[in-house]
Symmetry: C2
Subunit: 326 residues, 2 copies
């Protein structure tokens, strides 16, 4: 099975759970935006075949966890078709863009997938958990998952044709689909579209504020979705050759200043937790030291809320830098 190096960790976990082993989960490199490179995917598939392996599954990510990147679906679909491989899309985060006529192009090619997973709980205002698994083959879930347990899925019962329990992997589940249905009824398709567009607007607003605020720098200038990744970098930690108007940085944690930003970011988050006014995630990515990530998910966030994020981080940094030996 093949997936991008920036995919969700559940892919590796799945390879382990279903008995393939994590080494069977072959990772494909990404471009600077975080998108899987289709040419490298083709090469890896060919390489696996020449090693006597049998490629059967490609996962494309629509909305990566960190940078929010969308893998190029039409190219990946073409490769899967060529080698007769199941084409899955992990659209857990990014599936929501389909609700917006302005952003649905990010999912172009999704109709070519064999299966798609999508979590409406991530950006559409549905509480945890609400997961959708779409399959482009009508009877395949019954064919593979059905156990025909006759103490539950009686063939002779009234309305048995509406009991879809036997095509599910799990048994007792809450009716989480109901939350999606109710929200859809309440907000309408236009309501969802408004939500998604607002998340993109809020992300743009945060990026603009970062560009105009001292000591804040973007990891990625123009990400594909509403994830905003950024550093707080005091002047003394700026990289060699830094130009004053530059607002997108490329830091490395193998260098002294990158290592310091890495530590400072974790310390800012720690004090943020203690103060209890704000919760912003952080993480490293490859060679990049820890950076903050705001994944916009509330359409009700105002520009004041967004301004507060930077103010709070700045204030915490001042406290830390004036009271520690960083």
């Amino acid at each position: 099975m093949f997936s991008s190096e920036q995919d969700h960790y559940s892919l590796k976990k799945m390879a382990s759970s279903i008995g393939l082993g994590t080494k069977s989960c072959i990772k494909v490199e990404c471009d600077e935006m975080g998108r899987m490179k289709p040419l490298l995917l083709r090469n890896k598939i060919k390489e696996a075949i020449s090693n006597g392996q049998r490629p059967f599954f490609v996962n494309a990510t629509s909305g990566t966890t960190v940078l929010g990147a969308f893998d190029p679906l039409p190219e990946i679909a073409q490769i899967c078709k060529e080698f007769n491989i199941w084409f899955h899309i992990d659209a857990a985060l990014g599936g929501c863009v389909l609700a917006s006529s302005q952003y649905k192009h990010l999912m172009n090619g999704c109709s070519l997938a064999d299966s798609i997973s999508w979590n409406p709980h991530k950006a559409m205002g549905i509480p945890l958990q609400c997961s959708v698994f779409l399959v482009n083959h009508k009877t395949i879930l019954y064919d593979y998952f059905s156990t025909k347990a006759d103490y539950l899925f009686q063939q002779d019962k009234l309305y048995g044709e509406y009991d879809v329990g036997d095509k599910s992997l799990q048994c007792g589940r809450k009716t989480d689909a109901f939350k999606l249905w109710l929200t859809w009824k309440a907000k309408g398709t236009q309501g969802f579209e408004h939500t998604i567009n607002k998340l993109f607007q809020n992300a743009e607003s945060l990026r603009n504020q970062i560009k105009s605020t001292q000591n804040f720098y973007l990891v990625l200038d123009n990400p594909e979705t509403f994830n905003v990744c950024f550093w707080y970098v005091p002047p003394q930690y700026l990289p060699m050759g830094f130009q004053a108007p530059q607002k997108v940085l490329n830091l490395s944690k193998t260098l002294e200043n990158g290592r310091k930003v890495h530590q400072l970011t974790a310390q800012i988050k720690g004090l943020m937790q203690k103060r209890g006014n704000l919760m912003v995630a952080y993480q490293p990515l490859g060679d990049k030291p820890n950076f903050f990530k705001v994944c916009m998910n509330s359409p009700t966030a105002t520009s004041e809320d967004i301004k507060f994020i930077l103010q709070e981080i700045e204030q915490i940094s001042h406290i830390l830098l004036n009271h520690s030996s960083l």
Copy 2:
């Protein structure tokens, strides 16, 4: 892997999901109460070894889905120890008896297990879903499930030692444990004990009513838990050689009368659904035709509620038998 022929269907599904294949899920026969026979388990393990297979997992069921039987845990534990096999207990239904000093003996030997699953949502008043997975080896979940995804489970974050997400198989989950904790706080251990004892009392009350009500017959006289399995059998469908005071039947769906009871039970349930006053499950079991199963799970059910079950089934049967060609 080994499990009883009356286990939950998820065992077979698991064998399929983890890549073993359903043929690797070897089923062991049960006694008339529905309990796995330990002698047969030992024989099947020896047979598998002599066939070159490597037994690694035994599932004991504490509270089977249909008859509510408890497998003999100490004997099974001994066999697992002898062959160095992981000993798991599916106590999804029956784990709740541990809350009752009167009934906890049914789980005697459970401390010898390597792992136990338990669903407090089944009989303890917690809404779906609430599942507990207990493991008798402190670090094994981290050892096997951890993927160390550094964008989620940062090693350098404040309070990181309290983040147990990385030892779980799944990622985003509702905090379902909170429901159990809150209920425990509200009802107390004694409250749970009262609930469990009441379920057993209600089951006994229903069995007694069945014994004293015409045309109702028990599948099992004295089941181990609060499942009550019974038939509605009009006089013309009683088996050959039936003795008037007999209230426990042994019907076979390979015989004409059994086949008719099989159909009638499904039809009663169908009309029950249409009338909408009552929901009682039914299922076949091995050679036995469809029977009703009331799995007591509400401690607030009164003797009037219990009486209503039989009254409603009787009334529906009269309607069906007078208006159909059964």
